[in-house]
């Protein structure tokens, strides 16, 4: 975002700089990511290598898939804090199954994990949509329950790498055309979600419910069903990612992904998903994920101490949401000015 150039141009067209950026919010985020990447490359020439980019994307893929589900939930005016626990529970059960039956195809484990996620999501969804419990409380309570179940089913033991079959671990390390499986999986999810949110009725109804539940209900949308659905989708995705997670780290523990929900929410918010519901784009979420993924990859590469990473990530999130508000304010203001009276 080069300020001086932009300012000169905006003057001519009679729009403020912020208004112009506002129209291309994603472009701003994209430029920021590129800047971070260039800076890292300047400090450490190993950044733009095939190996590293492959690493970066593979590491960001789980976050990115989860962020898609969270985007739907947030668009429908909800929030789901239970996904870290759902992920751990399904990952643990899948890992236990694999440890018991080493000959089982890993895809059965994936199916099992997804099914467990669906059940978990359905529980959260019912408490929110049928019983009208606020999403933050419902998912918080369920988070305790799922997390505790993870400890209970595992008997507080870990499932470690040697207990998992090679075929299972190969899901994470394997490559198609030299590129990791996870990147293809994430890509497939993004394409599917792009189509789902933009070109299907159910997808558009989620936006409708999020922008105004009352008008959505009056126009014949079954709001309760839609609300339930987004939590089930979220649950299915967390269950799916739980298996991917366990295969990637080759270990399943009770505290797997504890607190990860905050990273996922952060990716959504960075990607411009409105926390009050009603708006959010797949492209934005992709960029938000890429930014967090790039930071995770870049900070160690420029010899930044691991202890600094939290603070830097937090500061960037805060910075991004504040800039976002400033931009939006100016867009709104210039919209008001342009409207003929």
């Amino acid at each position: 975002m080069s300020a001086s150039e932009g300012y000169a141009k905006t003057r001519d067209s009679g729009e403020t700089l912020f208004a112009r950026i506002g129209k291309f919010r994603e472009v701003g985020l994209f430029v920021f990511i590129i800047l971070v990447m260039l800076f890292t490359q300047w400090k450490n020439s190993n950044f733009f290598t095939f190996e590293n980019i492959d690493d970066l994307l593979a590491n960001a893929s789980i976050l990115g898939i989860l962020a898609l589900g969270m985007m739907l939930v947030i668009i429908a005016r909800g929030i789901d804090l239970s996904i870290g626990a759902t992920l751990a529970l399904s990952g643990m059960l899948a890992a236990l199954t694999i440890a018991e039956h080493p000959t089982l195809s890993p895809w059965i484990a994936v199916l099992l994990g997804t099914a467990i996620g669906v059940v978990c999501g359905a529980f959260v969804g019912v408490t929110v949509s049928v019983f009208g419990v606020l999403p933050i409380i419902a998912s918080l309570g369920m988070m305790y329950v799922f997390r505790a179940l993870t400890y209970l089913v595992s008997g507080r033991r870990w499932v470690s790498a040697y207990q998992m079959s090679d075929a299972f671990k190969d899901m994470a390390t394997g490559r198609w055309f030299g590129i990791r499986h996870y990147i293809f999986i994430a890509l497939a999810f993004y394409v599917a979600f792009y189509y789902f949110t933009n070109h299907t009725r159910t997808g558009r109804r989620i936006y409708a419910v999020g922008s105004s539940p009352e008008s959505a209900a009056i126009s014949g949308i079954r709001t309760r069903w839609i609300t339930w659905l987004v939590y089930v989708v979220m649950g299915a995705i967390s269950g799916f990612c739980g298996v991917l997670w366990v295969a990637k780290f080759a270990s399943a523990q009770g505290d797997t992904a504890s607190g990860y929900e905050m990273n996922v929410i952060a990716a959504c918010v960075l990607g411009g998903v409105n926390i009050n519901g009603g708006s959010g784009k797949v492209g934005g979420v992709l960029l938000g994920t890429l930014l967090l993924g790039t930071l995770n990859n870049a900070l160690p590469m420029i010899n930044m101490s691991v202890f600094w990473q939290n603070a830097i990530q937090g500061a960037i999130i805060l910075f991004a949401i504040i800039v976002n508000t400033l931009v939006k304010r100016n867009v709104d203001r210039s919209n008001l000015i342009r409207r003929p009276i």
Partner: protein, 342 residues
């Protein structure tokens, strides 16, 4: 929402409505917890020596009261219809700074003041950001400051811990004033003050007003911004207090202390009958729920019930607490529909 909760002056008093209040349910729950605990474990309450056992129960409060200090201002925040999830990190940051400054030679009283000041500062920062950028949801802002505050604590102390506090500092967490632990006394005094502020002052009424409708309150002359900043500062200060007690009890501190406190505290407050949509709730409910959850954990811990089962119970209890009023409303609607059909 149930009739019992509406606050109106000219409502006729009815015993039924009075006893249907959530606080009574909580009290029943509290007694149930006590009965269940004493049945489950003979160590919990020994009827042969009631005096000693009662003392032991009072002592037990020290195991769970540290985070309860945050629950009081958290009730304010939630009554305003907002949320603060940065409190756990604030506790960690203020505790770490206190430890580090004490180690660097700052006398302990000054370090304790620093701890409170840091907590207050963190809260103030949240408040200022939230009032400068009103569009931002409290959840998001406090989410990012949550990451930042703990991040700063990590930068300062990395993976070390600091301790070696003077002996008198332990007075805070372990000593007694008369028969009561100092911590319990401090909590009761704080709860009383917060209760009076919430229920008997203009400030308290304005909190309810903001929680019911922020815009309407603003236009009726409630200084919304000032109140929000004050409340967030207050919760920062109380996080500092929690940091003092926690550090005093543990004897040392690390950057990863108080992880997950925010959720525990929110659970306590919501269980206490404070509605997360704002504008409803009472301090007495919060106080009872602090002790209910605390004794539940303590008793089941004695019984050697694993922490995991405990988490399930607390989680379900939390959802149940919020569901009850909704269920009642749903039942009422269903009855009304049936009547109409007939």
């Amino acid at each position: 929402m149930p009739e019992a909760r509406t606050i109106s002056a000219d409502k006729p008093f009815s015993w039924k409505a009075f006893f249907l209040q959530w606080e009574w349910m909580l009290l029943v729950l509290f007694i149930l917890v006590q009965v269940a605990n004493s049945q489950l474990s003979s160590y919990y309450f020994n009827f042969d020596k009631p005096g000693d056992s009662a003392m032991k129960l009072i002592d037990a409060t020290m195991t769970f009261l540290d985070k309860a200090f945050i629950a009081l201002p958290m009730a304010f925040v939630i009554i305003m219809g907002e949320i603060d999830i940065s409190v756990g990190s604030t506790v960690a940051l203020s505790a770490v700074l206190m430890g580090v400054s004490n180690k660097a030679g700052l006398p302990m009283p000054a370090a304790m003041c620093l701890c409170l000041a840091v907590g207050t500062g963190c809260g103030l920062l949240n408040g200022v950001i939230l009032t400068r950028f009103k569009e931002l949801a409290p959840m998001i802002v406090t989410l990012s400051t949550m990451i930042i505050y703990r991040g700063i604590a990590l930068i300062i102390l990395e993976d070390q811990s600091v301790g070696k506090f003077p002996l008198w500092f332990e007075f805070l967490g372990w000593e007694y004033v008369g028969p009561s632990p100092f911590m319990l006394l401090a909590f009761l005094v704080c709860a009383l003050i917060y209760g009076v502020v919430l229920h008997k002052t203009t400030f308290g009424r304005q909190l309810y007003a903001i929680g019911s409708n922020r815009t309407a309150s603003y236009f009726s002359g409630v200084p919304v911004d000032r109140i929000r900043i004050a409340v967030y500062t207050l919760i920062g200060l109380m996080s500092g207090v929690t940091a003092l007690f926690l550090t005093s009890r543990m004897g040392s501190t690390r950057p990863n202390v108080a992880q997950g406190y925010e959720l525990d505290v929110i659970a306590m407050v919501v269980l206490g009958g404070v509605s997360t949509s704002g504008g409803k709730g009472r301090m007495i409910g919060v106080a009872i729920s602090v002790f209910t959850v605390g004794y539940l954990r303590y008793g089941l811990g004695l019984r050697n019930v694993s922490a995991q089962v405990l988490m399930i119970i607390v989680g379900l209890l939390l959802i149940f607490a919020v569901m009850v009023p909704n269920l009642r409303q749903m039942a009422a609607e269903w009855m009304a529909n049936r009547k109409r059909a007939v």
